[in-house]
Each structure stands twice: as structure tokens, then as C-alpha cells.
Amino acid sequence: MCPQSDDPTASVPDGLEPAEAHSDSYVTTEPSETVVIDAVAPELTSRPRRRRRTQSGQVTVVGVLGELLITAGALVLLFLGWQLWWNDMMMANAQSDAASQISQDWIAAAPTTPEPEPIVDSTQPSAAPVLADYGAPVVGAVPANATAFAVLYVPRFGADYHRSIAEGTGHDVLNSNRLGIGHYAETQMPGEVGNFAVAAHRSAFGGAMHLINELQLGDAIYVQTADGYYTYRYRDTEYVAPSQVQVLASVPNNPVGTAVDRIITLTSCNPLYSTAERIIAYGVLESWQPLSAGAPAELAPIIAAQG
């Protein structure tokens, strides 16, 4: 757009007001003779302006190509935003809701009459609060692939954090709208002697292990199943190559060892937003209690809040 040709007053001689020039253009008196020409001038000058517009509006191959490339760049950026923020958030909410539902169903189905209080060994001097002993943890049957059989609670990941754990680590589990955490089929079940190993995304797809690097020694990792609550305590983290399957051994990193402990292993990708490495977090089973005995003290309000 050319400012000179656009402004009708621009070519008005000095001393003439713009309004004057405009009204004078219809008067045929002598002094206004030049003004008439000047008033016509904008229309004359608009002709080259129009020509320029058609030139710039002409569809050229390079022009279209440039616009397509800019559009493609914008779409790729939008995809990242969608994947890492919008869809991640939507999936996290959906997975969380599904996990709440499963948990509530289990609690509703659990026997209403609490089991008899376990006998606490009073001969033991209790410096620390005695943990109720419900015997050896119940080990559930191995479910079918992509079937949710447990709910994971990690208060360190947020008070409202709860996700379903399903059998198998395929995309039908990890990328699912209602599952999110997958159990390595070749590893043990919750509460079983050996290694209960699970995988989940660090970012995108609900990012169930988004904060796995924030775990601190002794943090509770609760696993709820239809049988009861398994309380694990976080022990340590290691960073390994994606090929290092030894972390899944019943004695992690010792494939020939004989398992004694009940371990939980969380695996996810590392660093954040990359898949170059894997981050592995281990926990050790601390206690077990049946569903009818209610949730562990720290977990009870979290369970109640999701109802």
C-alpha cells in the first residue's frame, strides 16, 4: 500500500484545507482548477496500486511452496504440543478415572465383614510401630493380556496419582486410554517372591511415570489388587541401556540368582522426552494386608478421595 497515492490530501497545494479541496473539486471557478485535477489524482494513482496488488496476489509456485512449508512447520509444532501436553493430559485423566473405577469396584466387592484382627506379637519390644501381620502376601492369578489387575499409588507422584496396571507391555496397554502401566509378563506378580516389574511412559500417553526420577528412599509405592494392598518402599534407581533386560530378573541384574526378596521394578524412558536410556526404580515389599482390612494409613485418605 502506497501512502502518498492513498491520501487524497497529499497532493493538495499548501494553504488549502483538505475539506476545502474536496468541496472545491465540484466548483468550476478559476482558483479551483488545479484542485479538480488534484481531486482526480487519487483515482489515477490507484491504477498502478491495483496492478501491484494483482502482482503480489499472483499464485506462484515458489509462493505456494513457501506457504506449504510454513504450514507444515506449524503442524509439526502443533503435533508436539498435542502429543506432549494436550493428549498427555487427556489420557492421564482417562487412565486415572479408569483406575479409580477398578479400585472402587474391588473395594465394593470385598467382604464386608473385616477379617479377624491379626495377632500382634506382644513379646517383641516395639520401638517402631508394629506392622500388622496378615501372613504371606496373597499372589493373584496371572491375568489375560491387556487386562487390568492392579492399581498403582505413589504419593510422591501426587496425592491423586493412581493408575491401572495391566498384563503385558504392548502398545495395547501402554498407549491405552484406560490402562497405562504394563506388567512384564515374564516377571512375578505383586507380593510374589521375585520381581514384579512394570513399565509406563515417562511423557505422552498419560505419562504414568513422569515423576519417576523424584522418588526418594523409603517412599511408599502401593499396589492394590482384588486381593489387597501391597506396600513397597522405594529403594534405588539406576539408568540402563534399553537392551538391559537383566533388570527384570527375579533378582535384578543377577539372572542366575535365587530370589528371596519381593521386589517391585518400575521402568520408564530417560531422559525426559527421550528414549535413549531407561530409568529403573526398585522397591522392596514392606507389608501386605487384605482389602477387607482397609487401606494402609497413608493410602486410606487417597483411596477415600477418589470415591
Partner: protein
């Protein structure tokens, strides 16, 4: 391309602006609902397991 689209749109400038906003939102909705999930399934860019299971 976009200049041609702008000229094709009818009405005064504020009508055109509203139309452009509606068009952009429609494109975003189509992307988020169908296109991006489809690409996500193909790219499979986020692996979280060990052993490539």
C-alpha cells in the same frame, strides 16, 4: 494461497476474521481428533520398556 483464501471469503473484514477463526478451529479439531492420533500410532516415538518388548 492464503491471500487467495482471504479474497474468496465474503463480507467485511470482521466477518472474514470470524470466518478465518472458525476455519482454523475446524482444522485444529480435525487434526486433534483424527490426524494426530493416527500419526502417533505410526510414529510410536515413545518407548518405555526394556528389551524392546
Amino acid at each position: 494461497m492464503y491471500a487467495a483464501l482471504w479474497r474468496v471469503l465474503p463480507g467485511p473484514i470482521w466477518v472474514r476474521i470470524i470466518l478465518v477463526v472458525i476455519l482454523v478451529l475446524a482444522v485444529l479439531a480435525v487434526l486433534a481428533t483424527w490426524v494426530y492420533p493416527w500419526i502417533d500410532g505410526i510414529l510410536n516415538s515413545q518407548e518405555a520398556t526394556v528389551g524392546g518388548a
